[in-house]
Subunit: 172 residues, 2 copies
């Protein structure tokens, strides 16, 4: 499972990072969320803990946490972040493009051999998770409707008509 906030913090300070309030806030948000979060979500939640935290700081902290191996970056239309699983070996993420849910695909003999195939080719995966984008079971089922626009030109969301910017981020 995931490391507790305390452990992440200790790890960071050991490597020389300062343990600041904004950083703690972001970490806490990510630990408490039991799922992947978008930047917007992280920012909003972090501000409840640390009202003055800035946008750039959140980006910087996420970048740092990812680089240090505490986060996994999930690339959908826009990036999302979730705690890295202690399971350090290469594994798989099933990412639903509709509801953004990220499901871990447990390590099995099959996935193992795929890992071997990568080594054979001297390809070094970065990050410890391979992302497979698609539709989760739930979304797939009730998705018969808005699934396949014939001439597209319709694309976007599935959940709301809100401009897209889930919250106060855009310019002004």
């Amino acid at each position: 499972m995931h490391k507790p906030a305390r452990e992440i913090e200790k790890s960071l300070s050991t490597v020389g990072y300062r343990l600041t309030r904004p950083r703690r806030a972001v970490i806490k948000v990510l630990v408490q969320a039991r799922r992947s979060l978008s930047l917007d979500e992280i920012l909003i939640r972090a501000r409840k803990l640390e009202p003055r935290i800035g946008l750039a700081t959140v980006y910087r902290t996420l970048e740092m946490l990812t680089a240090e191996g505490h986060l996994e970056e999930v690339r959908t239309r826009t990036k999302r972040y979730m705690l890295a699983c202690s399971n350090f070996s290469l594994h798989f993420h099933l990412v639903c493009e509709r509801c953004q849910t990220v499901t871990e695909l447990p390590s099995t003999p099959e996935t193992q051999s795929l890992t071997a195939a990568l080594q054979m080719r001297n390809f070094e995966p970065c990050g410890s998770a391979v992302e497979i984008l698609g539709l989760c079971e739930r979304c797939r089922n009730r998705g018969a409707s808005e699934t396949k626009p014939v001439h597209l030109r319709s694309s976007p969301p599935h959940v709301s008509e809100i401009p897209h910017n889930q919250s106060g981020l855009s310019k002004k």
Copy 2:
């Protein structure tokens, strides 16, 4: 292998799309490139064939071609595009984050069983390729240097000091 331009065009018009000069230009660019291209690259090349082609049109065409299954979208820092392989079943792309090269991982028993695992979970991968981001052999070798900034805050490129925008795209 990849379909020739002619075939893609026929397929499009069959489905009801008009075969316009801008579209033909984009298709030609993609077919002639033997690798994945960034939007900038596509735009520049397309303009050599069709000088007045607009940015939005390129985006729209890429979106359309992808939706029609003629392109595969590769998501690195920014998206790239390459011709879809006729190999329609789920397969893997080894994407080098350094040099952007995309290598196909041929379908083997291992990859097959992974596909089965996805079906078992009722997860429907979108697009026919799973992308595995990492470092290719070449980049990995001569990468000892700029590989791992201790406190990051240094990240970016590896190839040039150019602002990042490889060419005339940005605002003005």
